[in-house]
């Protein structure tokens, strides 16, 4: 053992897995650099209206996590940056971090003076493009670091209204990209996932009707900070749906799409059925499934939903969804009754699965992927969260804790 201070761990991705891995390692005494591509931490979980099975908003737990991050001097959080290079060396890895141009810098106090003067509108990525926001704005109400972002590409030529409005000199329209080099002891990759694209599921209406939405879009529809202020409505006419159909395994467990089970969609739909019924007690909810995968304590949630009035669980994968007048026509075999059901729905939710999002990570870190595209750990580079395997938030945090431990061991080995 040498007396030189050990190198920090690099954690890539500040979603629930990356934050957890960073905090666990830091609280165990490791220096950690947590790099996030977005302007703020929280990743996919913050886009959820509720967690299952407790049906509580994720912002709660995330607030605890950001406080832990804030208070822990061992974690350096780098947002708006990506790892663009990684080279193994004697003590671990030499890593290149590329910072996106900081058009809004850390002098920003989130006072909000810039937003009203911004003439440009962009689709809101936090709301999955379901609404429009000014090009300069707070990314979402729970943003941490609490700092505005500017979508520079949307700026009208020559406009500097926001800079003029800012009294803190926090806006630099000419900011440039910069890079830094970091010596890391080991790496935890927690780059998360992307929803399976709706457009790949045209047979069940994906991309062909505004009223066929994905389960992640449903979370935004129900969320108070979402595009409708939390009102569950049909996108086409903004009316509350009377009949909501959930199509399970939409693109999962399917050799033509994602061959694996995405692990969360059954529970996500059960959860959504509960909050749809809470908000729209008259709505008829039907969940079309192949199997109901609700292991462990989640089984209780299945029982709860199955017992609800106005909720039906039908065994059979939906084969076709087609526009039918103002509604949508579904064609599916009810496999228990042994007959074809021609169902009508106002809103169809495709329970789309999770695609591992390693981005450039696999190439940058020289990482191998399994047949399904999930990252496979090698000695000093540990994969955590949904970049590692399909799992829910609870499993993801356990996975991240284990990953932090393994990364600490790997960093100790190379030091």
């Amino acid at each position: 053992m040498t007396a030189t201070p050990s190198r920090p761990l690099l954690v890539v991705g500040a979603g629930i897995a990356g934050i957890t891995a960073a905090l666990e390692a830091a609280e165990a005494g490791r220096e950690v650099v947590l790099v996030e591509r977005d302007a703020c931490v929280g990743g996919r979980v913050l886009r959820n209206h509720h967690y299952f099975p407790k049906l509580c908003p994720p912002s709660c737990g995330m607030e605890i996590n950001t406080r832990r991050l804030e208070r822990n001097p061992r974690v350096r959080v780098v947002t708006g940056a990506q790892v663009t290079g990684c080279r193994a060396n004697a003590g671990g890895y030499e890593v290149t971090i590329t910072h996106a141009p900081a058009y809004v810098n850390d002098r920003c106090t989130a006072c909000g003076a810039c937003t009203p003067v911004c003439p440009a509108r962009v689709k809101d990525p936090f709301n999955l493009d379901m609404s429009e926001v000014p090009a300069v704005r707070l990314p979402h109400p729970n943003a941490w670091p609490k700092r505005f972002v500017l979508d520079r590409q949307a700026c009208p030529s020559g406009c500097h209204a926001c800079r003029d409005a800012c009294t803190y000199d926090a806006i630099d329209l000419d900011a440039g990209e910069r890079t830094e080099t970091l010596q890391a002891g080991a790496v935890v990759l927690a780059t998360g996932w992307d929803p399976y694209p709706l457009e790949r599921l045209p047979e069940v209406g994906g991309g062909r009707s505004p009223d066929v939405i994905s389960n992640v879009q449903m979370e935004r529809l129900a969320a108070p900070a979402g595009p409708t202020g939390g009102k569950i409505v049909r996108p086409s006419d903004q009316q509350p749906p009377k009949r909501v159909a959930f199509v399970q395994c939409a693109g999962s467990r399917d050799v033509n799409h994602l061959p694996y089970c995405s692990a969360v969609c059954c529970l996500a739909s059960l959860k959504q059925a509960i909050y749809v019924k809470e908000q729209l007690p008259e709505a008829e909810v039907t969940i079309y499934y192949i199997d109901r995968r609700t292991p462990g304590r989640n089984e209780e949630m299945l029982g709860r939903v199955a017992a609800m009035d106005g909720v039906r669980l039908v065994k059979g994968k939906v084969a076709k969804v087609e526009p039918n007048g103002p509604g949508l026509a579904l064609r599916v075999e009810d496999a228990q009754a042994g007959r074809i059901v021609h169902a009508e729905a106002d809103l169809v939710v495709l329970a789309t699965g999770m695609v591992p999002s390693l981005g450039d990570g696999a190439r940058v870190f020289g990482l191998a992927c399994d047949d399904d595209g999930f990252g496979v750990e090698n000695s000093g580079i540990v994969v955590a969260g949904v970049a590692h395997r399909p799992e829910d938030v609870a499993a993801s945090t356990r996975d991240a804790t284990a990953a932090a431990a393994r990364a600490c061991v790997a960093a100790g080995r190379s030091a």
Binding site: C249, V255, I290, K315, K317, E333, G338, R339, I340
Partner: protein, 375 residues
């Protein structure tokens, strides 16, 4: 509480299914996408999901008694969408082959033709050898001397000889088909109540067979439908021509060979064109996209090959009479007669038997209209 049904899984059937090309059935996880996709499936009796389940279990009795097995045209819309690559279209095709074998009378002929992968030389060779032997024994082997310029095949092979082979062969085939058809008809009735009488079901079934209207709803199989329709009407036309020729020879006392402009000749040649076009489309389909065509089992390929060879030798024999040497014509004609005899005799046991079973299934279902009616 309802009585728990007793299932009789047949390991023998499961093994046969695997051996004959239906092994993908094991991958099915009963999601029912296939039934939801199938445009042929009736709302109250969808398929192929239940067929896949029964195939996995080896419930041969249920499969043999289910009209759905025959209402499927193997368009493979289901296979294209199957999330498990369980190939329902191909599996149901193998089920059909196994049902043909199961219902065959006598059973051993069903097994012989069912094993076409290994027995095909016998199935093709024996009838040809039989013709050669028959012609040799009766002193007709070879081209007779002094053949006129405009000779007719009757001068090579007397009509009487042809009747003496094909009438008994047809009678035997009809008998075997009758026995198998009765078995199937009885199984259908035992499984589900009949909508209509046989006679009442004839009209809608006949209309569907004549037009292939429901077949047209099969997305992946559009060209195959036209090929099959053309081929089927070609065979009908050829059969009618044969009947008309018997009338022509024995009642109208027409002189053979007929002029090319004679209506009977025209009908025969139009039929030949339909046969060539239909067979061409089906062969091209077979050689093309394997997903759309489905996997080719030996049982299927054997039947398609016989049909194609009958057509090719038939057309070639006609052309040979008009221009090529009589020796070549004679050789071609013998092979043609042998292949037609093979086609006749294997009718109840080969894929050709779909004509029998699919027709009966359609009659049982009362034809197409009631089935495709949607709420």
């Amino acid at each position: 509480m309802a009585a728990i049904p007793t299932l009789l899984p047949s390991e023998e059937f499961r093994e046969a299914l695997r051996r004959r090309g239906g092994e993908a059935a094991a991958r099915c996880y009963q999601c029912a996408t296939c039934s939801g996709v199938c445009e042929l499936a009736r709302d109250e009796a969808p398929f192929p999901r239940r067929l896949m389940l029964w195939a996995q279990w080896g419930l041969a009795e249920r499969l043999a008694a289910d009209p759905a097995v025959w209402l499927c045209h193997q368009c493979n819309d289901c296979t294209a969408r199957c999330p498990r690559d369980a190939k329902p279209g191909d599996v149901v095709q193998v089920i059909r082959a196994l049902v043909i074998e199961k219902l065959a009378f006598p059973g051993f002929l069903g097994r012989v033709v069912g094993a076409a992968r290994t027995t095909w030389p016998l199935l093709v060779g024996l009838p040809i050898a039989f013709w050669i032997a028959l012609l040799a024994v009766t002193g007709h082997f070879g081209v007779p001397a002094g053949l006129p310029q405009n000779w007719a095949y009757e001068q090579l092979v007397p009509h009487l000889l042809i009747y003496s082979v094909f009438f008994p062969a047809a009678a035997w085939t009809l008998l075997a088909a009758w026995v198998s058809g009765r078995r199937f008809w009885g199984l259908l009735a035992a499984r589900g109540p009949r909508k209509k009488s046989f006679v009442a079901g004839l009209w809608p079934a006949g209309r569907e067979i004549a037009t292939h209207t429901r077949f047209a709803s099969c997305g992946e199989a559009k060209p195959r439908r036209l090929g099959h329709l053309s081929l089927m009407w070609g065979f009908v036309g050829a059969a009618v021509t044969s009947g008309l020729l018997i009338v022509g020879i024995y009642i109208q006392h027409l002189a053979m060979p007929l002029a090319l402009t004679h209506p009977y000749k025209l009908l025969g040649n139009v039929s030949a064109v339909l046969l060539v076009v239909g067979a061409g489309v089906l062969v091209a389909n077979r050689l093309g996209d394997t997903l759309k065509a489905g996997a080719a089992t030996a049982f299927d390929t054997y039947f398609l090959a016989i049909v194609v060879l009958v057509i090719v030798t038939g057309v070639l024999a006609e052309v040979a009479r008009l221009g090529l040497s009589p020796e070549f014509a004679f050789g071609t004609y013998i092979v043609h007669l042998g292949l037609v005899l093979s086609l006749f005799l294997t009718f109840p046991y080969s894929k050709f038997a779909h004509l029998l079973y699919r027709s009966l299934a359609m009659v049982h279902e009362g034809g197409s209209e009631a089935e495709t009616a949607r709420p």
